[in-house]
């Protein structure tokens, strides 16, 4: 049977409806996922920036101490009050590294993040004392 020319169509085929609905649902789910992902990314970058600032602030305080004071300060090392509320469950740890002629402080901060992430690390060198000058 030959197809009819100029045949009038009333309504839509079920296949067309299903295709349209599928496309609409895919587009919607993409937009929703992207919105959530964008929000999460903003939050992660804000947390990362705050963590770097926290390490910098702590290192500024620690690197002017002499070695004896540094040991005591590392023993009492704690995340600042402001960061305890700004970052989710932050953990701060510090290590003194004594090389041949210089002493370094290595600070590490961790906080609850999605997925497995390495802790953020920052290293600072102790300011040389007058006696250590050549």
């Amino acid at each position: 049977m030959l197809p009819m020319r100029n045949a009038t169509r009333n309504g839509l085929m079920m296949t067309e409806l299903i295709v349209a609905a599928t496309l609409l649902m895919t587009a919607l789910s993409l937009v929703v996922t992207l919105s959530f992902r964008t929000g999460k990314l903003w939050q992660e970058s804000r947390h990362y920036k705050l963590a770097v600032e926290e390490l910098t602030n702590q290192l500024e305080r620690l690197t002017i101490l002499d070695e004896t004071e540094l040991d005591a300060a590392l023993g009492e090392l704690a995340v600042s009050e402001k960061m305890q509320t700004a970052l989710p469950n932050p953990r701060l740890s510090g290590t003194k590294i004594v090389d041949a002629d210089v002493t370094r402080v290595m600070l590490e901060i961790e906080w609850d993040r999605v997925g497995k992430s390495e802790p953020l690390t920052l290293v600072g060198w102790l300011a040389p004392t007058v006696e250590e000058q050549p």
Binding site: N57, E60, A86, V130
Partner: protein, 169 residues
């Protein structure tokens, strides 16, 4: 059988109704996309300005040999070597840095911030430090302001390091 020409009123009404719904949906999607784009741009601008501010404040604090903090209006003044002074003043929508060099015109720098961002400056002791905190009020009851930036810079750090490097008599 009579051939139908044109549309009935019911068909027209149905088409107009469906078209209106689609138009409203499309408009809201476009509006949302434009709002999101604007938010992204503001966020990027604020992040850049605050990073610059953090860097400049630390550098000025490290180079300073003295500091004065005034709470009303929020202001920090650093005294630099050679008689220079740097003043940071908090306004509603910006933080201004003014560098005064004796015998020269003062230099101004502006760090834009949205009005809902609150900045507080405090002075800390042992060792002497400057604390600048910027928070964002989310305007949601029960939710505390969110910390956006927290800088604790040691005053006179460079001066101290330079002094230790000078040979002792």
């Amino acid at each position: 059988m009579t051939k139908q020409r044109g549309f009935t009123l019911v068909e027209m009404l149905a088409v107009i109704a469906v078209g209106s719904v689609l138009l409203v949906l499309a408009t809201s999607v476009v509006q949302r996309a434009m709002k999101l784009n604007s938010q992204w741009r503001t966020h990027a601008d604020v992040t850049r300005a605050l990073t610059r501010l953090s860097h400049d404040l630390r550098r000025d604090a490290h180079e300073a040999n003295g500091v004065t903090v005034t709470q009303e209006p929020g202001e920090i003044q650093f005294s630099l070597p050679d008689g220079q002074t740097v003043r940071y003043t908090i306004a509603d929508d910006e933080i201004v840095r003014v560098l005064e060099i004796p015998g020269q015109q003062s230099q101004r720098e502006y760090y834009k911030k949205p009005v809902e961002y609150q900045a507080t400056m405090t002075s800390l002791s042992s060792p002497e430090r400057i604390d600048l905190q910027i928070t964002r009020d989310l305007k949601t009851s029960g939710v505390p302001p969110r910390t956006v930036m927290h800088v604790e810079a040691q005053v006179g750090r460079l001066l101290r390091l330079t002094q230790t490097k000078e040979p002792t008599p």
